[in-house]
Symmetry: C2
Subunit: 341 residues, 2 copies
Amino acid sequence: MLDQRLLPARIEYVRYDSAAAVAAGIKTMVVRGAPAIGCAAAYGVALEALRLRDQPRDAFLAGLTHGIAALAASRPTAVNLFWALDRMRARLDTLSLRALPVAEIADALLAEAHAITVEDVQLNRAMGTLGAALLPHNARVLTHCNAGSLATAGHGTALGVIRSAVEAGKRIHVYADETRPFLQGARLTAWELMQDNIPVTLIADNAAGLLMRQGSIDAVIVGADRVAANGDVANKIGTYSVAVLARRHGIPFYVAAPLSTVDINTASGDDIPIEERAAAEVTGYGDTQWAPAGVGVRNPVFDVTPAELVTALITERGVVCAPDAAKIAALVAVRALESRS
Amino acid sequence: MLDQRLLPARIEYVRYDSAAAVAAGIKTMVVRGAPAIGCAAAYGVALEALRLRDQPRDAFLAGLTHGIAALAASRPTAVNLFWALDRMRARLDTLSLRALPVAEIADALLAEAHAITVEDVQLNRAMGTLGAALLPHNARVLTHCNAGSLATAGHGTALGVIRSAVEAGKRIHVYADETRPFLQGARLTAWELMQDNIPVTLIADNAAGLLMRQGSIDAVIVGADRVAANGDVANKIGTYSVAVLARRHGIPFYVAAPLSTVDINTASGDDIPIEERAAAEVTGYGDTQWAPAGVGVRNPVFDVTPAELVTALITERGVVCAPDAAKIAALVAVRALESRS
């Protein structure tokens, strides 16, 4: 995995060969971004299967169960993690676990992880094509955190929509919130967009309100870590502030997320667990610490934006304007119908 | 001057002996905070006078004029700077510039700078006593940037109100926004409050909305760099976001500022110049740079909160609820009446 903690200063890859190691990589944010975490978890299961492919069948299956549990315990908020693990478990369930050679089970799990990854790029492309229409030519678009290639298997969710708009010939100028405390905007979004020659201006999170008040922002687009059944959106801490400001200024607020991010089993945003991380992320950055030693800290790293502030949810199955429980239920029901047929 | 750029890691003082050097200290933020900048500018004029006290009268007066101009050009937004320079000029105007020995003019200017500084502490004490009544016992109070002892000659404006409430026996828990990009909250507010044993929890600016939504904030109090005639408030970048969030959650939003911060000659917030500072403040902090080299940046360091979002303006002459042009004009007119009598 590309170690995203070191970007953009250094491009270094970390090798993994077990579910426990991948779980540690997710927990320590070597990889982050809801869809990317899902792909990483799927590969974590596959790597565990490959690691145990020479073990007796019972040890192999027990090890897999243990590895899946370790991955599920890595981070609590992004639902794609659980979605990907459920899908890997479902793939296991279709196999003849008592008859098929262990090595073939492992190969099937690896193929499933590959499929999840390939599909993620396809879904992002679809979201991009469907969502790009929402961004006018010459739009100045604010984004928060990183919902780009680095947060997915490729193309990106929020940045995927921007990329698709640019590919369609529109000129888009992106304003990237730096996104304290982990600085995904400053380090990852700015870097990604510069690689693609998409104009980007970096701002402190605190500057978003002023820019909106000055009329410098035409639209906001972000990704999501979990969308509840009623359309409430959990995303990187600070997303809620941006949504409240956008509403005050009549600026559309878009959320781009595949249906794997929609958690129909979570009724509302109030039911989404919000991860709190270490104080050291807030008292400084990396080895540089600037706050007084011993200061009390709260570091919730996600917040919830209520559905009423979301202008539209951009999914691979179309744009849902003013998302609510009925619209989301309809979308999920049609998907279920189709997957049965 | 205490070098606030090094706090809380190091306590170092810088010595100044000319207006130009003090102007450079203000510009590079050795000292910051609107009232503290006012005091520093007054001392800058006095130091220039002391430096030139052995010069011929014409060189002395020309040098003073030059020094005042350098100080006035140091930073654009905080009006206390211009207020203090106006007051030093007014003191000069009362002196017999053609007759009084140059050394005595210098002594009079030094005395005026001392007076401004002593008065600032008195005004902060008065604001504290008047404003403390607004904070309930056990209040959880969010503040942004640093409006404390370090931003004034002592006691503080926003933190002065909190200190006075604590002195009055109330238990107050402060949540301090870290205040990117210059981190005045993380470095200065957290440090000041810890010195005084006032409980403080540091948060990323992005977390304010979540805490409000969770019901963890009872009031917001901030200082100001300039209050326009209609009650609009220029303050540290990000203040506007906090005010918008507070309004959404029905949380009172208080601004503590002496009348020297009220600029009756600026009609509204739209007329307040907003300083933009170097990109390096946003691309990293100090020697640590984390954004990709060459990224475009905007770094406005103040924003404007419209008067309609201000629950009350706390001044040394009393609390102005729902400030507007008429109330501010009345307050300023009474002060003018009294100073004539």
